[in-house]
Point group: C2
Chain length 692, copies 2
């Protein structure tokens, strides 16, 4: 074992415990805040119940799925149980289950605290922006702390118990499986509800957005929590675990080269969580403060603290290299820069949103065309940023010796994800205050309160664009390092079989090229399936809403209550039904490519998948955010304001953008990670089989 | 020189001459057909004039651009004039000019015959579908024969005179430069006119689509010819030349290995042109025949003849390998299969078009979302097809020895493009009968005639989808073989400098990876710039139309004539103004990546560019065709028919699809080829410089 390794296991457990304790403190702090308005209590209760229904159903299906996968792992991975090590197979199956369970727990807690915070934040807004902001932010922070605490604890525990890094890939795959369900399933759920509520409510019946007579309205509010709190949390849990796992796999292969690499991975992750705790604890807003600035400045504070703490650690702990510190810092800084450039394309005080709003004057086709165009262009800075950070990290660490260059890239990913606790806090803040805004309206809290709630909500939207850009980029760097992990796993298998090792994946090799082309088209097909899934599911839900209006007497007049749970039920079942073919398709194609072309084709496949996945994820997320904010910009009275021709066009843009930014775009992250992990896990099989 | 090489030079010139002679025969045959209706003669004359104006202006700007590039080539390529061979630089500059001039001539003739055919086809439709079809088809065939004749003649002449294959890359780059102007510039032109005519005419003034009072209406008709006849012709000229050039570069590097590879490239190209001539000569339609079937069956006839002729040649000519024949055949067959699958996504008798039309019932957002989704999915068969054909061609030819595998891929591209004469004929038929339909309406030729013209037009649209899928795939295979040509050029430069050769581009090498990420985002940014260009340019033209309606008295009433040429002028100048930044951006980024990362980064850059370019080109072309045909399907009386809610939504889908399928989508082909050729031409420079 490396020097200090036990120390850093200990520290990992300790800091994870601190994060849990602080999360518990914040949870109870939020719970202590007053909530008195009867209407708000009622609706918040319905949202909470709805979220629970979704989670329960989702986790049930997931449990079946995970059991099947766990049995398959037990039988076949890391190598078939009849010619491998029995203990290894059991370890990996258990690690896989641990990955799903920890992620599920984090999601569950996040949803709980979000449903606790929304109503309280709405009521607090009556007293001013300061207390309302704090409740929203601290509610989100619970999620952030739990997610990062669980990932650090999980990774450290698995490695401590098993000692073999490749088992960690099983843990990571568990996290990914859950993320696929939570993110893509949640994404379909939330947009199904949103679209159906809008279509039947606003369009057919002419009732306002959050009108309680609409049977889909609770499902719509639940959707925000399910997609953005639980989904985003699972997504970043997944990225964080995958980044650590691939860094650890590579670090273990570098053991005995004179550096304490493994300790460094844990040390940096521990310090990242510590920095996030400090950043969260110090987040404040002035009495008339700007919530966007408050959220962003906490991010910058966290970044600065992290850089200082890691520099100190690197200076004082023997066997830590400044080069690795450089790689991690490059990753983190590029992550922040990508966030800022993403903001440029989606912030309504910047020119692009205004341009798209202006184009809407000419009709919806121009809203779409300009949004698509700027969405494409918005991918440029992030792609260049990822390219430069990977190249820089590689070049910085290359002189340390063989294998260190790829380790540098994986540490850039770890660096970029170090402040993920802060990022999740900011992100989970969004749906909480979004819900709070709706509740303030339903609870008749008055115009001033709604204005404050609006301001908090708008900050949530702006920050969300930044965190999405950040999470896509982080996933990008992570899967690049997973590519490294894949090659090292393939070579382990080849070495065991006494075959010739592979030194890389040459694009002039047609099996690699074959893989690249197939890999590139998968994210496109995957997102198409999800978007079509939203469409199909919305049709089911619209039919249910029509049924309720036709069969429940007094519903239209507001004297009878709709059956909210039926809508939640449909959204849930449908979401999972639409998700499974898309998820299975990606996994089966990965296996198929591996069986046809062997490990080299899979290497190409991963590359194509990563590259086109990043491009499409950035395009869809940013175009969606852009359309959303253009609509809001028009609604604020520009280009003719509400009800104008431009507004109608902007609403169409927003409807197109919704499944782009909330269903397909952010699910592509997870799709890429799942595929990368499946490839790494099956590397032994791919290394042996190839039709060509 | 290879055995028989002189024979095949001779045959190339001979068959090119036959193609020219046959084209001349068809041209005069079309010209002999009667045209008597005064109104048709007038409008057809205006379209002809408009097309001439565009071509004149375009060629003027192109001449300046080409002169600058020619001087740069003279100074720097293949190596700086002060330390290279003076004659080589002159040869390459001249070859470059020859490439632009031959492509320009082909475009010019194509436009001439198209403007000759449209009115005559409209009048012939009075007599029935048979004569009207024949005029449209033969008009298109002139373009097909000239394009392929010119490319075969040009490639043979350059190689015969110079003897050095790398000079051919200069010729190919000339063809690409022109294609960029013709395709992207023409694409912006045609959509500017189309969008402006629709916005002012149909929307603001409530006058029908082809109303002669609209100042933009002639520009709109010109646009069809400029974009689809000249643009598509230049595009396929470019692909065809590039495919031959890269096959020849590789064949020359294989000389002395026992096969007559060079002869084989020429022989197969000669036979391809011969097969197209036979296919064109035998194209017929029954009295009540189906024009789509007639067009498709000529394609199948040509394919079959080509396979037989090449098999016979391979059997009887010494030094020809059956393996190469296999590679070429695989390429051709996959091309045909890709065409058929593309048809599935855009043909209105198939389910997808109906589904999108049905989704339009729910509103325009669903038209867009379903079209985007199916557009993404439609890329799958073509990408898989390209991947499989490249892999199969490689594997078939690999046993022949070192370097033959890549030669196999280039011969698959040559095979796929062998029937390009037939493809262009089918494609150019489209805008001719599209114009004929408009002219039949303007000339009051009666309902029966218009119905026949409609049927011909609809066949044109269906076949266009197939030919577009075909041309994108062919470009895909071509650029894969250009990647091979790039590597061989880089190694030549490295060998001359006494440096270590590169054996490939490993994706685990971060400079390669860096290139891949940047390369992948370029087609997205390039298409965004073109789409935004259409938007900007349309705004200028709408302003001009408003000016005319305000200042020309009697225009609204139909007593005064609009100034058609002003609109054509604006569309032309604007198109070129919007195109140049996009074109320069791609070239400069290529150079920048090369300077920063050297040859390896450029290799990755080309891969990323090809992969994401193919994906986006297929997505945009197919989604655009899908929306267009969905609109037509609704207009045919389905889902509520004309004027219904579904129709309004379908029109918005069509407007979004227009720049997708006619501007951005098909221009990406050319963008990829230009970048690949720039890279190959500058390979010597990139091999030497690299910041990292």
């Amino acid at each position: 074992m490396e020097q200090y390794q036990s120390l850093f296991y200990g520290l990992s457990f300790l800091v994870a415990a601190i994060a849990f304790a602080y999360a518990a403190y914040l949870y109870f702090w939020v719970k202590r805040q007053p909530i008195t308005n009867g209407k708000i209590i009622e609706v918040a209760g319905l949202i909470k119940e709805g979220a629970k229904t979704f989670m329960r159903r989702e986790y049930k299906i997931l449990a079946i799925f995970a059991s099947v996968v766990a049995v398959l792992i037990l039988l076949f991975l890391p190598s078939p149980i009849w010619n491998g090590d029995f203990i290894d197979n059991i370890s990996m199956a258990l690690a896989y289950i641990a990955g799903t369970v920890l992620s599920a727990i984090a999601g569950k807690i996040g949803i709980m605290v979000a449903s606790l915070s929304n109503g309280r934040s709405a009521e607090a807004a009556q007293k001013g922006i300061k207390p309302a902001f704090l409740i929203g932010f601290r509610g989100g922070a619970v999620m952030g702390l739990i997610v990062v605490g669980c990932s650090l604890f999980g990774v450290a525990a698995v490695l401590w118990i098993v000692g073999d890094a490749s088992i960690l890939l099983g843990f990571s795959f568990g996290a990914s499986s859950l993320a696929l369900f939570a993110k893509a399933g949640g994404g379909i759920f939330t947009k199904t509800a949103d679209v159906s509520a809008d279509l039947t409510g606003k369009v057919e019946l002419g009732i306002p957005e959050d009108d309680p007579r609409n049977p889909a309205v609770i499902a719509d509010n639940v959707g925000d929590n399910v997609g953005d709190v639980a989904g985003m949390g699972a997504d970043l849990f997944d990225s964080n675990v995958a980044a650590m796992a691939s860094a650890i796999v590579i670090a273990q292969s570098l053991s005995g080269t004179g550096y304490n690499n493994l300790s460094m991975v844990f040390c940096y992750s521990v310090l990242g969580l510590l920095s996030s705790i400090i950043g969260i604890a110090t987040a404040r807003i002035g009495k008339n403060g700007n919530p966007t600035r408050a959220l962003n400045s906490s991010t910058y504070v966290t970044t600065a603290i992290y850089m200082i703490l890691t520099a100190v650690a690197t200076a004082f702990i023997p066997g830590f290299s400044w080069r690795i510190w450089g790689a991690a810092t490059v990753g983190l800084l590029v992550g922040v820069i990508i966030g800022i450039t993403t903001d440029y394309f989606t912030d309504d005080s910047k020119p692009i949103v205004k341009k798209v709003a202006h184009a809407s004057q000419t009709g919806p086709a121009f809203t779409i065309l300009s949004g698509v165009s700027y969405g494409f262009i918005s991918a440029l800075p992030a792609m260049v940023g990822i390219a430069i950070s990977a190249l820089a990290a590689y070049k910085i660490c290359e002189p340390m010796g063989d294998g260190y260059a790829v380790f540098g890239i994986s540490m850039a990913a770890v660096g970029m994800l170090s402040i993920v606790g802060m990022i999740i806090s900011n992100d989970a803040y969004g749906p909480i205050v979004d819900n709070a805004r709706g509740l303030a309206e339903m609870g008749d809290l008055g115009e001033d309160t709604i204005r404050i709630a609006d301001e908090l909500d708008s900050a949530g939207n702006t920050v969300k664009a930044v965190t999405k850009g950040f999470s896509i980029s982080a996933a990008g760097l992570t899967v690049i390092s997973l590519l490294g992990a894949f090659m090292s796993e393939v070579n382990t298998a080849l070495a065991e079989a006494g075959k010739e090792l592979i030194t890389g994946f040459d694009i002039m090799d047609p099996t690699v090229f074959f893989g690249v082309l197939i890999g590139a088209v998968i994210p496109a097909v995957f997102s198409a399936m999800l978007i079509l899934g939203v469409d199909k599911n919305a049709q089911r839900m619209v039919a249910e809403i029509h049924r309720q209006f036709n069969s429940i007497k007094g519903l239209r007049e507001g004297t009878a209550k709709p059956e909210y749970d039926k809508c939640i039920d449909i959204a849930t079942t449908g979401a999972l039904r639409e998700l499974i073919p898309a998820g299975l398709m990606t996994i089966l194609v990965t296996i198929l490519v591996g069986v046809i072309g062997g490990a080299k084709a899979v290497g190409g496949f991963l590359l194509g998948n990563i590259v086109s996945g990043l491009l499409l994820a950035l395009f869809m997320s940013n175009a969606g955010g852009l359309w959303d904010n253009s609509k809001k910009y028009v609604e604020a009275g520009n280009e003719g304001g509400k009800g104008s021709k431009a507004h109608k066009a902007a609403v169409i843009g927003d409807t197109v953008g919704d499944p782009f930014k909330d269903t397909a775009g952010p699910s592509i992250n997870t799709q890429i990670t799942v595929v990368s992990l499946v490839a790494s896990l099956l590397s032994g099989v791919f290394a042996m089989i190839s039709i060509f």
